[in-house]
C-alpha cells in the first residue's frame, strides 16, 4: 500500500460526497475554462484576421472593442511614412443583420490589399467601388442563410450577394464585405474610418516605423497587429470580467472542498488519533489531508476541463456567437485550469490539515 493508495481509500469511503464535491469544484473549473476560452478566443480571432490580411501595424482611435471614427484622409500622411509599403482605411461596424443579432460589417477601400486576402469560393468580388454588392464570409453566409443572387438588408439599404469568400480567419469568415463608401453612407460616416491597416516594406524595421508613426499620430493608438488585440482595453476588460466571474465560481468551489475536508477530518478524529498514536508525524498528517484535498480538485480539474471545452463547443454554434467568435481551446488553457485546480486543492486543504495535525491522540482515541 502506498501513501497515495491510503489517501484515495479515504476519499472513496464516502463516494457520493466525494463525487458531489468534485462536481461542485468541477463546475467552477469549467466556468474558468469556458470564460477564459471566450476571452482568448476573441483576442485570437482578431489576431488571426490581421495575419490573414497580412497587416503589420494598425492605427485606431480609442482602445475599446469598438474603435472611434476619424478622418479617412489621415491615411495619406501615413502612406508617406518611410517603411510603410501600403496603408489602407478600414471601416468596421457591428450591426444586427436581418435575423442575426450581431454581425461584423467590413467596409474596405476599393483596390486595397485587404480584398486580396479574400479567396472567392463562389461568385465574385464586387466589380467596382460603385456596385451595390456585398460578399459574405463562409460563416456569415451560413448564419444569414444566403446564397448567390440573394439580397442582404444592411440597415435601410439592400445589397446583392455577389460572392462567398474564405477569409482564412474566423473573424473574416463571419463578416460581410463591401466597399467602404457604401458603409460610410449607411452609417452616416462620410469621409470617416475607424482603422488604418498598414503593411510594411520588406526592408523596413517594424520598431522604427512604429516609433515614427507614434510620433506622427499623436492621439491615435499605433500598435503592431498582435499588440492591437492583446493591449486592447475591450479585450482586457472582457478577460478581466471573465476572470472575476471565474473567481466567484472558484471561491464557491473552494469553500465546498474546504467544507468537505473539515467534515472528513471531524468524522475521522479517532482514526487520525490512531495514526498519530502509531507514530505518524505532524507533517505526514498534514500531507495526507492536503493530498486528499488536491486529489479531489485534480479530479474536479479533469471534469471541469472537459465540461468547459464542451461548453465552448456548444457556445460556438449558438446563433449569437457562430461566425463572430471562435472560442480558444488550447493545451495551455487546460494546463492553467489544472494548475488552478491544484491551487484550490492546496488552499482548501491547508486549514483542515492544520486542525487535524493538532489533534490530541489521547483524547481522540477515546471518541
Amino acid at each position: 500500500m502506498t501513501f497515495l493508495d491510503f489517501t484515495l481509500k479515504n476519499l472513496l469511503r464516502r463516494p457520493i460526497r466525494t463525487i458531489l464535491t468534485v462536481m461542485g469544484i468541477g463546475v467552477g473549473i469549467g466556468a474558468v475554462v469556458a470564460l477564459l476560452g471566450l476571452a482568448r478566443g476573441l483576442s485570437q480571432s482578431w489576431n488571426d484576421a490581421y495575419k490573414a490580411r497580412g497587416t503589420d501595424i494598425v492605427v485606431r482611435k480609442g482602445s475599446g472593442l469598438q474603435a472611434q471614427p476619424f478622418d479617412d484622409k489621415l491615411v495619406e500622411s501615413v502612406r508617406k511614412t518611410p517603411g510603410v509599403d501600403i496603408a489602407t482605411n478600414l471601416l468596421v461596424e457591428t450591426l444586427s443583420i436581418e435575423e442575426v443579432p450581431l454581425m461584423i460589417i467590413s467596409g474596405r477601400e476599393w483596390g486595397s490589399y485587404l480584398w486580396d486576402s479574400l479567396k472567392v469560393v463562389q461568385g465574385r468580388l464586387p466589380n467596382g467601388p460603385d456596385e451595390k454588392a456585398v460578399v459574405l464570409g463562409t460563416l456569415a453566409a451560413e448564419a444569414l442563410k444566403k446564397k448567390l443572387g440573394d439580397t442582404v438588408m444592411i440597415e435601410t439599404e439592400e445589397f446583392a450577394v455577389v460572392g462567398v469568400v474564405d477569409g482564412k480567419a474566423f473573424v473574416e469568415n463571419g463578416s460581410i464585405f463591401l466597399n467602404a463608401p457604401h458603409l460610410q453612407r449607411i452609417m452616416q460616416k462620410e469621409n470617416r474610418t475607424n482603422f488604418i491597416n498598414i503593411r510594411l516594406a520588406k526592408s523596413a524595421d517594424p520598431q522604427a516605423v512604429l516609433k515614427q508613426l507614434k510620433q506622427e499620430l499623436a492621439g491615435y493608438r499605433v500598435d503592431t497587429a498582435h499588440d492591437d488585440t492583446s493591449t486592447n482595453d475591450g479585450v482586457k476588460t472582457f478577460e478581466a470580467m471573465n476572470w472575476g466571474t471565474s473567481a466567484i465560481a472558484l471561491l464557491v468551489g473552494t469553500f465546498g472542498v474546504m467544507n468537505t475536508m473539515f467534515m472528513s477530518v471531524f468524522e475521522r478524529t479517532r482514526e487520525i488519533g490512531i495514526l498519530i498514536a502509531l507514530g505518524w508525524r505532524q507533517a505526514r498528517i498534514l500531507r495526507m489531508i492536503v493530498f486528499e484535498s488536491v486529489a479531489l480538485c485534480v479530479g474536479a480539474g479533469v471534469i471541469g476541463i472537459l465540461f468547459g471545452i464542451g461548453l465552448l463547443k456548444v457556445l460556438a454554434v449558438t446563433p449569437w456567437m457562430s461566425g463572430k467568435l471562435e472560442p480558444y481551446i488550447g493545451w495551455d488553457l487546460s494546463a492553467e485550469a489544472m494548475l488552478l485546480a491544484v491551487g484550490v486543492g492546496l488552499l482548501s486543504g491547508i486549514l483542515p490539515a492544520l486542525r487535524c495535525s493538532k489533534i490530541n491522540p489521547s483524547a481522540a482515541l477515546l471518541q
Binding site: T2, E271, I274, A277, L278, G279, W280, R284, S362, L365
Partner: protein, 285 residues
C-alpha cells in the same frame, strides 16, 4: 539524542538482525523474524534485561496529571522505574489512573508536573513525540483501533510509513508479522470481516511493525470472550518472552495481571503496591 526518532534509538546505524524469534501458536508453528536496527531492541540474552540492577528503561518521577482544570487528579505524584525486558502489569479499578499513566508512558499525553525518562533522557516534552513513538513504542488497545477502510495487511503497514521502507519491504514485513500471529489466511480482510480475537491479533502484529522497545497494552482483552482472551494473552506472553521487549499491560483483571513478572497496583492516582513475582520491591510512591 537522535534527531529522527527522539530518544534512545539510532536508525542511522547499519541494519543488524538482533531478534530472530520463533512464535509458535498452539495450533500451528510460525516463524517471525523481527528485523530491527541496532540499539532498538534488547536481545533475549542481554545481561541488562529484566533486572533492577540494569539502568531503567523508563523512569517516572513524581508525575502529576490533572483534568478538568485540576478538579480531577488522575495521577498524584507517581514514581516508578521499569527495566528492559520486564513484563509489568498495572492493575487498578476504573479511575485509578492506570490508563492515564500508560498514555504518559507512550507520550500520547503530557504530564502537568514531574518527569518521565527513557534511557535517562526526558520524554515529557518532546518536540516530536510521534517520532519517538514510531521508533520505540508499540500500542495495543482495548478497542483494537484498526482503520476500517484498510485490510489486515494494510493496517499492519501503517506504523511502517515513518520508517522509510519501500512498499514491497513494508508489505513483506506486514505479511511476516501477520503470519506470526496466525493471521496469514486473513491478509486481505477488512476489520469488519474479522472476529474480535482476529482484530486484536492484527493489532498485535501492527504493534510489532517497527520492532519497538516497549509494548504498551491497554486492556488488550477487554473486548474479547474468554477463549480469545486466553489466546491473545498467550500470544503477548510469547512475544514478550521471545523478543524480550518490555511489555506494560494495563488491566483491571487480577488473573491477567498475575501472568506478568511484576504487578503495580494503582488506586486514586497513586501506586498502592509494586510487587515482583520473585521479590517485593519499592513500596508505593
Amino acid at each position: 539524542m537522535s534527531g529522527i526518532c527522539g530518544v534512545g534509538c539510532s536508525v542511522n546505524a547499519s541494519k543488524s538482525l538482533v531478534g530472530n524469534v520463533r512464535l509458535a501458536d498452539s495450533n500451528q508453528s510460525l516463524t517471525l523474524i523481527l528485523r530491527s536496527y541496532s540499539g532498538t531492541m534488547t536481545p533475549p540474552s542481554s545481561p541488562e534485561s529484566n533486572s533492577p540492577a540494569a539502568p531503567p528503561l523508563l523512569e517516572v518521577v513524581a508525575v502529576h496529571r490533572n483534568f478538568d482544570d485540576g478538579h480531577v487528579q488522575a495521577l498524584r505524584g507517581v514514581s516508578l522505574a521499569i527495566y528492559p525486558g520486564e513484563f509489568v502489569a498495572i492493575i487498578g479499578s476504573s479511575g485509578s489512573g492506570k490508563s492515564t499513566l500508560l498514555s504518559l508512558l507512550g507520550t500520547l499525553d503530557t504530564a502537568d508536573q514531574g518527569q518521565i525518562l527513557f534511557r535517562g533522557q526526558p520524554i515529557t516534552k518532546l518536540s516530536d513525540p510521534a517520532a519517538f513513538r514510531s521508533h520505540n513504542i508499540g500500542f495495543i488497545f482495548q478497542s483494537f483501533h484498526l482503520l476500517p477502510t484498510l485490510t489486515a495487511l494494510e493496517n499492519v503497514q501503517i506504523p511502517m510509513f515513518e520508517m522509510g521502507w519501500s512498499v514491497s519491504e513494508r508489505q513483506r514485513k506486514a505479511k511476516d508479522l501477520l503470519e506470526a500471529v496466525g493471521m496469514s489466511h486473513r491478509l486481505g480482510h477488512l476489520p469488519t470481516k474479522l472476529s474480535g480475537g482476529e482484530r486484536q491479533r492484527v493489532a498485535i502484529a501492527r504493534s510489532l511493525a517497527n520492532s519497538p522497545q516497549i509494548l504498551l497494552a491497554d486492556e488488550p482483552t477487554g473486548n474479547l470472550d474468554s477463549r480469545n482472551s486466553t489466546q491473545i494473552l498467550e500470544l503477548l506472553q510469547r512475544v514478550h518472552r521471545e523478543s524480550n521487549m518490555t511489555l506494560i499491560l494495563v488491566t483491571h483483571d487480577m488473573h491477567i495481571a498475575q501472568m506478568a513478572d511484576r504487578v503495580i497496583t494503582m488506586r486514586d492516582g497513586a501506586i498502592l503496591s509494586d510487587e515482583r513475582k520473585s521479590q517485593s520491591v519499592t513500596p508505593a510512591a
